[in-house]
Symmetry: C2
Subunit: 482 residues, 2 copies
């Protein structure tokens, strides 16, 4: 289904439309915050970003801009208390009425998609990160995913290697693949080569035949579990092994995000729902054997009911939906868009197969039900969602994930997607405080703020995992904001 | 005298030209490091930088590039031990055979000249600086120079204010001028306004009538001394008051730089002279009354002799010169180019007047004699020298100071200079490690490294001033590397 704005199916008309219509522009209008204009929603010119972006923008963006000094002061305090992950990417969805993270990746794989102009910021952020984490580091060993035929992923690894090298560290790539028995140069489209080398473990140190790195940097999300060769290393492993998908749960992340969002919303005096999707979890699901379907249906209904109430409160005339996805895992497998609880009962064999297994054969048993956030951004003819990249606690770039074959209520991280690396003409850290008509920078500042909230949630999530590990009770933590 | 390369007067032919000719390309050749080419000096294409830059580049640049991981590792260690000043700019001179700092400004006044593309790096660096210096800061009060009619300087203040605001702090400008008795909006060429406001002191806190800032940021070099209103404040003052020209001495800076340069040169295995100009100081000079001329002539001769020996060692066929300047002060007043000791004896009345007083009437009594470094860079028809801007320990931009009416052996910081803000197309932090033919980024990386060495020297200089102040023995420190 190729659905682009204004295609989303409109649900029932909301009764108290007048009272709740905080959004009162036509959704086809292009709107932005303009401080000289007293109304919250004012016209904006086409952002330099070459999109057909049309969603109404809530006062959220205005409040984020107005609150900038308070926000940055608050972030400074947070980063004094919580150590940001070395790097992360956050998928956002912007429905105009809501701007929220829907996934936070601690092993980001799209550095090749960042605008080249962001490179200096990335290098500077890596310098800061290294100073904090391992100031004495001279050499990094990067452990990538095992996708030796995915040219895009290989370009990501090369881009990451380049950023690290430009920050002044020696960087080599060690592969977990047994077939990499000797240094193997893979050709990249730009004519350069990426050299994968066989890992060599000596006692509790990991390296290459002629390379003893100070630090191991994982760009592998460990969906298949933690390989023995990575266990009990004396070198620091960044991010920590427990950040991998064999132990990490999305629900722990969003439980932390709920706390962050509530504190942040308190700071700005806004409804936390504007940045935080509802969610719930179901354990012990077995799609193949129809085990747990009723529990799942119950939570789907609960989240839809909560969302419907919020849509009514704000006079939003769209049909609520939820996303059902594995609580552990990535790569857009095992993700369903659901608009009614009945849809998760009596799933077809094809649907069950799709949901039952995610990347690298990891079985789905814990499932997360998350309020769906429409994305009303489009790039050319594709539905688009912004992806924000961070190193340490700095936004270092972003791009749009675009899918021309998906709808505004669907997961875009799926085969057929592409990236618009040039989309962010302006840095996310540079709002135009004078609010000139081309306000793309302002929108991107808001994106950077919400992405950093998700990053902060990850910092807290990882702290708690570490604490739980120390108490041997890991990974029992479960949470929901229902 | 409008002198551009290859106009510098060539002194005597050096006897052992063959033995010492580490520089053996024609100076008119355009050269750069290319790792695939075994010779140190290889051809490069025209840098994107639109200059007629032609100087021969010594192996220094190659060694800096090759040493990058060692250099960055070393810097990381240094910044663990020494706190970088909040901001600084460094004037460099690049003669091809030598790349050295000649002035380090702790109250940089050219933020308006930076390429707009550097802004995100500047903002990120300010964020880091604030986190270190005053993480709880919400409001900064900037104290600028008293140049209300210098539109360029006002633009600098506006640019600085913008960077700070983008980092999320409230920034207002408080003027030391008594005539600023009420908020005064000054028009800027871009249509914006800079608002200067009268300072209000309440007890030991400095602010504005309706603004109680957390931090005072000086963009005033205190040449006229420390005003009472700035003394004994309970708020942090950045940079510290003792960094002003009423107490700071260039010779203390270059004494620290000598140590830094020697350690760095040891790291790379190079002659420290390649990055460090010889210098000496004479105290108790009174130009008007011809007091101290003999002492000065003696040091001039000494530095010229040392420099001549180095030129001979390296087969450099130019005439050595020294720069005689006030040990305290700025703005390019009180600066002479001298090629023979006799020139500083029997100065004309005009020359004496020029040397005797620098900015804001500060009397010259301590004089520094510094080895002159030719600048063989030109931008269009003007002699050019790079100026590198740093915030915290990050390079955040740079530009060329250009003077079409000055020679390659003269101070360019003088009336008639202009700036080429677009000169640095590439960031100083991004060398092209694959050494592609357009190697402007590589040269700029080297500039960033040498500028950071000067920054490190400033960090040490300020530490020592603080220690000396605590011992009440300040500012007695004198040093020379002779």
């Amino acid at each position: 289904m190729a659905a682009v704005w204004p295609a989303p199916s409109i649900g029932r008309q909301v009764a108290d439309k007048g009272a709740g219509s905080k959004l009162n522009g036509s959704p086809a209008e292009r709107v932005c915050y303009n401080p000289t204009e007293p109304n919250l929603l004012t016209q904006m010119t086409v952002p330099r970003l070459a999109t057909a972006q049309t969603g109404p923008v809530l006062s959220l963006e205005k409040q984020i801009l107005d609150g900038m000094p308070r926000i940055e002061h608050w972030f400074r305090g947070q980063w004094q208390e919580h150590a940001a992950p070395f790097y992360a990417s956050v998928d956002l969805r912007n429905s105009g009425f809501k701007l929220a993270p829907v996934d936070t990746n601690l092993f980001p794989g799209g550095f090749n998609n960042l605008n080249k102009e962001f490179l200096p910021q990335g290098v500077q952020a890596v310098m800061t990160a290294i100073e904090k984490v391992c100031p004495d580091a001279r050499g990094f060993l990067v452990i990538p995913e095992n996708h030796t035929r995915n040219i895009y992923y290989l370009q990501n690894v090369a881009a990451l290697q380049n950023i690290l090298q430009l920050a002044g560290v020696k960087v080599r790539i060690g592969s977990l693949l047994p077939e990499i028995a000797a240094p193997t140069a893979l050709d990249l489209p730009d004519g350069k080569k990426l050299v994968l080398e066989p890992l060599v473990r000596r006692g509790n140190r990991l390296g290459l035949a002629d390379f003893d790195p100070c630090t191991i940097l994982l760009n592998n999300d460990l969906s298949a579990g933690v390989p023995d060769i990575l266990k009990n290393l004396e070198q620091p492993v960044i991010p920590p092994l427990y950040a991998g998908w064999s132990t990490r749960l999305k629900s722990n992340h969003f439980a932390a995000f709920k706390e962050v969002a509530e504190e942040f919303a308190g700071l700005l005096g806004i409804d936390p729902w504007l940045i935080n999707p509802y969610f719930a979890t179901c354990g012990e699901i077995n799609f193949q054997e129809h085990v747990g379907e009723e529990c799942l249906a119950g939570w789907v209904d609960h989240i839809l009911t909560q969302t419907r109430a919020k849509y009514r409160e704000y006079g939003i005339q769209y049909e609520p939906f939820v996303i059902v996805k594995a609580d552990a895992g990535t790569y857009g497998l095992g993700i369903m868009t659901v608009k009614d609880a009945s849809e998760v009962q009596g799933l077809s064999r094809k649907q069950r197969n799709k949901m039952a297994v995610v990347k690298e054969g990891l079985q789905v048993s814990n499932v997360m039900v998350q309020e769906g956030v429409y994305t009303f951004e489009t790039v050319n003819d594709g539905v688009a969602e912004p992806v924000i990249y961070m190193i340490d606690h700095f936004v270092v770039g972003g791009f749009y994930r675009v899918h021309t074959q998906r709808g505004v209520d669907q997961n875009l991280n799926a085969p057929g997607m592409h990236f618009e690396p040039l989309a962010f003409e302006d840095s996310c850290s540079l709002p135009d405080l004078d609010g000139n008509p081309d306000c793309a920078p302002n929108r991107f500042y808001a994106y950077g703020v919400v992405a950093r909230l998700a990053l902060l949630a990850s910092a807290m999530e990882l702290e708690r995992m570490e604490a739980a590990l120390e108490q041997q009770s890991f990974p029992q933590a479960r949470a929901a904001n229902t």
